[in-house]
């Protein structure tokens, strides 16, 4: 296979060289337990503290507001379960139809069987054809028994950014906890949590060039918290279990790198994304952008190639070493296309042929040009094979 052109950074990212270097000592000589009394463990504890500081600086909060977890999914589970545990008299959850499965399936699980069986009600907010939420609808969904609202910061499939500040403010006004899954936003969009009405926020390490297996949950000071994992006193009694020190140190180094590179997202990354997107839309007939261009991540382009099927496109791109992903039924592992595109009302003729390209600061001009060169013939070829589409 030719060299890899990795445009699937919303799925996961490469571990950055300096990140790998930062974590190596903790996989080799510095294997102590941060909870130990001896100095050998103590120096490891110092490294964890430093990583906490680095992550706090990236998202603009205090280090003691960070809880390290194993992944974004754990952070989401911990946040929403904690909200319900600390608001025992409330029985209503609000989320959106376009959430990542980490939140969506969790909410479905919590409310499974409806109020009669589970004791909980769920409101899932719809989106318009551009993937946007209606703030008025968010307001209408809030009720006195709403325990928690969870709305993602940015959508993993379309890159659409949601008005979390406005939603958080509405929640705060009504005394409702607000959680956001910011796994796709952190490191791509600059923000400082100390200025924002957000109570809890989930982050994942491997989306920003740290290895898989580490995440964090931000819990604002003063927000009551009930741990998901119970046991030892780690993470100030908020997440039991011996710290994954090497991963945490890597996450810290990745956070520092992300903070350093974040200005490039709006310039370099967005420019390459725009070049890729505009080029594909211009060179491929019947290609449509999914999701608004007004409010979205700088690195994500989601394009539907009508009348052909996404898995076929991916496998042909794969022949050139190009890695992307699709919302088509055949690639979602189910027989139905992406729930995000369906919630947006994207017609089946287009949903089955949707391809997501997600860039990173490591994406080069030459890589984008290669994709622009090989994709149009693939689309043309598959349309020739299809009984529906004619160019």
């Amino acid at each position: 296979m030719s060299e890899i052109i990795y445009l699937d950074n919303n799925a996961t990212t490469a571990v950055a060289p300096e990140v790998r270097e930062a974590m190596m000592p903790y996989l080799t000589e510095l294997y102590g337990n941060p909870s130990s009394v001896h100095r050998f463990g103590g120096q490891v504890e110092t490294a964890v503290d430093r990583a906490r500081q680095q992550v706090a600086e990236l998202i603009g909060c205090e280090p003691d507001e960070i809880i390290f977890t194993a992944c974004g999914t754990e952070s989401d589970n911990a946040a929403i379960r904690s909200a319900l545990a600390t608001e025992p008299d409330k029985c209503h959850l609000v989320t959106t139809r376009v959430e990542h499965p980490a939140v969506r399936n969790l909410c479905h699980d919590i409310t499974h069987g409806g109020p009669f069986r589970s004791g909980y009600r769920l409101t899932e907010l719809g989106v318009d054809s551009q993937g946007m939420l209606d703030l008025q609808e968010v307001g209408n969904a809030l009720s006195p028994d709403t325990a928690v609202v969870s709305v993602m910061w940015a959508n993993n499939e379309t890159g659409v950014i949601y008005p979390v500040e406005a939603i958080g403010a509405m929640c705060r006004e009504n005394g409702i906890l607000f959680h956001t899954d910011a796994v796709q936003a952190v490191g791509k969009v600059p923000f400082a949590l100390r200025d924002l009405p957000i109570d809890m926020l989930s982050v994942s390490g491997h989306k920003l060039h740290a290895p898989k297996g580490v995440g964090a949950l931000y819990v604002r000071r003063g927000v009551r918290f009930e741990p998901l994992l119970k046991g030892g006193h780690q993470e100030r009694n908020r997440r039991a279990g011996t710290e994954a020190v090497a991963n945490i140190v890597a996450f810290g180094a990745a956070a520092e790198l992300a903070k350093k590179n974040i200005a490039l997202e709006k310039t370099q990354v967005a420019r390459l994304r725009d070049k890729l997107e505009a080029g594909l839309l211009a060179s491929c007939p019947n290609a449509i952008r999914n999701g608004t261009a007004e409010s979205r991540l700088p690195n994500t382009a989601n394009i539907s190639f009508e009348y052909i099927e996404g898995e076929s496109i991916l496998l042909m791109l794969d022949e050139y070493g190009i890695c992307a992903s699709s919302g088509s039924a055949c690639t979602t592992g189910s027989l139905e296309p992406s729930h995000v595109l369906r919630a947006m009302g994207v017609p089946y003729t287009a949903a089955h042929g949707s391809i997501r390209f997600s860039l990173s600061v490591f994406t080069t001009e030459a890589e984008v040009e290669k994709v622009l060169e090989v994709t149009p013939p693939i689309i043309k070829r598959l349309r020739e094979l299809s009984p529906f589409g004619r160019d």
């Binding site: 409806g114 076929s312 369906r342 009984p387 529906f388 589409g389």
Partner: protein
């Protein structure tokens, strides 16, 4: 990533029989764009009814395209009668096997062949389609499910989904698929427990039960599809509901009303229940 064999990849990347034929003797299309795959099969015959040329056009994933291509390898040079006995297993075998969840691609290939032959012979194509649609998501009929069930000796809902796609969407038809399985193989149907003596229910009990069934059995299914349902009123055995979300403008609304909601309530609450749609009167 699917674990495709080299043969699947070869037939997908370099199909030899893709294209169209002018004035074909046989021409049949199965599947549709909504379902995510479709296959058009065209063929030319000589005087001996031998297939001398055949082409396909396929919308679908790699295994759908590969199945179409290998199908033509299997039928080229054969007479119609010889081709008629090709099975989906032949297609899968010729590809060195298909992942379980992709077996429906081979079924699509053989359905296109059978449809093309039936139409050429002027016979009614047995799936076209006097059956009753069981899976609304993918438009799969009981006739097709039963046929594939028998041919492939399928015993579970998952297997039926792998081979026909039926049940792969909202999941509302799993009960019906189980019934077809048990009707064919005579196994006991796994049905939810029926309510004890329905007649003995008080009005209040019936209302509670209706509410519970709507919350637990019906709304989650509709919500999965972007729709929803509101229980407006219960008057004796008449249940009044209003559709919300995508259900409100769904073409299958009437079917959902009686075929899904009514049937579920009659099954689990009271056989006398009727359901009324009052969405419009409220709007």
């Amino acid at each position: 990533m699917w674990d495709y064999t080299d043969d699947v990849k070869k037939h997908f990347l370099e199909p030899r029989h893709a294209g169209q034929i002018d004035h074909p003797d046989m021409d049949a299309t199965v599947g549709n764009i909504t379902c995510g795959d479709a296959l058009r099969l065209m063929a030319k015959l000589d005087e001996q009814h031998r297939i001398v040329d055949a082409k396909f056009q396929t919308f679908g994933c790699a295994s759908a395209i590969a199945s179409s291509d290998v199908l033509i390898d299997l039928i080229l040079g054969k007479t119609v009668d010889e081709a008629a006995v090709v099975t989906n297993q032949d297609i899968a075998n010729a590809l060195g096997g298909l992942p379980d969840a992709k077996m429906h691609c081979s079924v699509m290939g053989v359905e296109a062949l059978r449809k093309a032959i039936a139409e050429w012979r002027g016979e009614p194509f047995d799936l076209d389609d006097h059956g009753h649609v069981v899976c609304q998501c993918f438009g799969v009929t009981d006739t097709l499910i039963e046929k594939v069930l028998r041919e492939e000796k399928l015993r579970t809902v998952d297997e039926v989904t792998h081979y026909t796609k039926a049940g792969g969407g909202c999941g509302a038809c799993h009960g019906k698929i189980r019934q077809i399985i048990s009707a064919v193989w005579g196994a006991p149907a796994e049905t939810p427990a029926k309510p004890a003596a329905a007649g003995a229910m008080t009005n209040l009990q019936r209302m509670q039960k209706v509410q519970e069934v709507i919350e637990t059995e019906i709304r989650p299914v509709l919500q999965n599809d972007g729709g929803d349902l509101e229980l407006i009123d219960i008057d004796g055995t008449t249940v009044k509901v209003a559709f919300r979300g995508s259900c409100a403008w769904c073409r299958a609304r009437d079917f959902t009303l009686d075929g899904t909601i009514g049937a579920k309530l009659r099954e689990l609450v009271d056989p006398d229940i009727t359901v009324e749609d009052v969405s419009e009167t409220l709007a």
